[in-house]
Symmetry: C2
Subunit: 254 residues, 2 copies
């Protein structure tokens, strides 16, 4: 494997009782996964854990040991249930410190707001020692990066702003590219074809995603590779095979 073939991976820890209770529908997995693809980084595992320090520490340490990057979302606000900074600092074995720049940002942000910079709000300036800040234009309170560990907000549109600020700043590999072929057939009808085509193209994976719409069954077949040439060859084999079996298909998916 040459250095350009290295597959860069990330783990994601989603911190929040509100996801585990079913109250809040997670939107960050898909948002972060899609963003990572563009950076040439593959999301390899996600864990959703409760607002309990030991659980966060365990998940953070397991996923950062296994991946190039570790992201968290949630638990960096001002309230008592926001314990991500404490837990991640414990996981990294470093103390929690107040970041002077974060403090200055919060002082400016709360200068004209009722109550000003309270102790609770000042919690949002706490970071694991050695961390730098990720700008947050929406609410002042920054995200946090310490090496390959990145702590982001849980509210999806704030997370989005932090991802935006990180765009192009993380080293990655060749982005995974994909093509989709849709068919109005049961995936089980072409299971053997899919298996054979994937086996014949070792740098490609084929995923099969069945659906039911307008009273009919169908499936999208997603071919993924880091190499355009291999991807095209695999797509050609699959569409040739579908045509040979007499199936109509829709390039780009249904």
């Amino acid at each position: 494997m040459t250095s350009s073939d290295k597959i860069w991976t990330a783990g994601l820890v989603i911190i929040g009782d509100e996801i585990l209770s079913g109250r809040t529908h997670d939107k960050n997995i898909a948002q972060i996964a899609s963003w990572l693809q563009v950076q040439g980084i593959r999301l390899s595992e996600v864990r959703v854990v409760a607002d309990v320090e030991d659980r966060i520490v365990e998940a953070v340490n397991a996923l950062r040991a296994a991946n190039d990057y570790l992201f968290t979302t949630g638990g960096i606000g001002p309230t008592h249930d926001d314990i991500t900074v404490d837990a991640v600092s414990a996981a990294l074995g470093v103390p929690v410190v107040v970041h002077p720049e974060a403090r200055a940002i919060l002082e400016r942000y709360y200068a004209d707001k009722p109550g000003g910079l309270t102790d609770a709000r000042l919690r949002m300036a706490r970071v694991p020692e050695g961390a730098e800040l990720i700008p947050n234009r929406k609410t002042g309170a920054p995200g946090i990066r310490r090496g390959n560990v990145i702590l982001m907000a849980g509210v999806p549109h704030i997370t989005a702003g932090m991802l935006d600020a990180l765009t192009g700043k993380l080293e990655g590999g060749a982005p995974l590219i994909a093509e989709t072929i849709g068919c109005w057939i049961a995936e089980s009808e072409v299971a053997n074809l899919l298996r054979e085509v994937e086996k014949a193209h070792e740098n490609c994976q084929i995923g099969s995603y069945p659906f039911f719409r307008e009273g009919k069954v169908g499936a999208n077949f997603v071919i993924r590779s880091t190499r355009q040439e291999d991807l095209s060859s695999c797509v050609d084999s699959l569409t040739d095979g579908l045509a040979t079996h007499g199936y109509d298909f829709t390039p780009g998916g249904i």
Copy 2:
């Protein structure tokens, strides 16, 4: 702790490259979490893993050791990337067998469909030895239950049907009940109040969920407990505190 106070927990393993690539937005976490609440079972952790046997085995064994129940979604269809039954059987240390009733269901379901019961479709009759079936009225192919390990489809409306078939069949404890209080204020303004009220009510947790709507900040405070009396007392303390500080609030949340 009396037996009626036992907290029953479940882990969930979501199996699917399509979630990790960002292509498909997960809907099963919220759906399963909400359903579990009603059964008196708490979702304690979720892991999203790739369609790779070792990853599935590791996640299944970690979460079933730590919880009363272990659920999986995804990977029980007819195609080459559907390896959940193999992986879970490996995790449980039992062989994969064809379940005669599942085979009969599939024979009936595919009798009048093009191709009939192909080898690929017959894959959906494979189960870990000792398993029973969970009916699926939508597509024939059943879910699978082996003791406290439950394998379900990944397509959300099929998952929903399987949950429906399981309703009332799993032992649980007292359901977690919740009340929500909404305020058009920044959560940071009442962070101390939330902390103090939670501390004074040991059988309750208070979660704070900020939002931005109509150009204004607000937050919903969700109070959870397994006991109605404790819950009501905690809600009273919080609303008294909000009133004392001069904040308007909306019972039921915003």
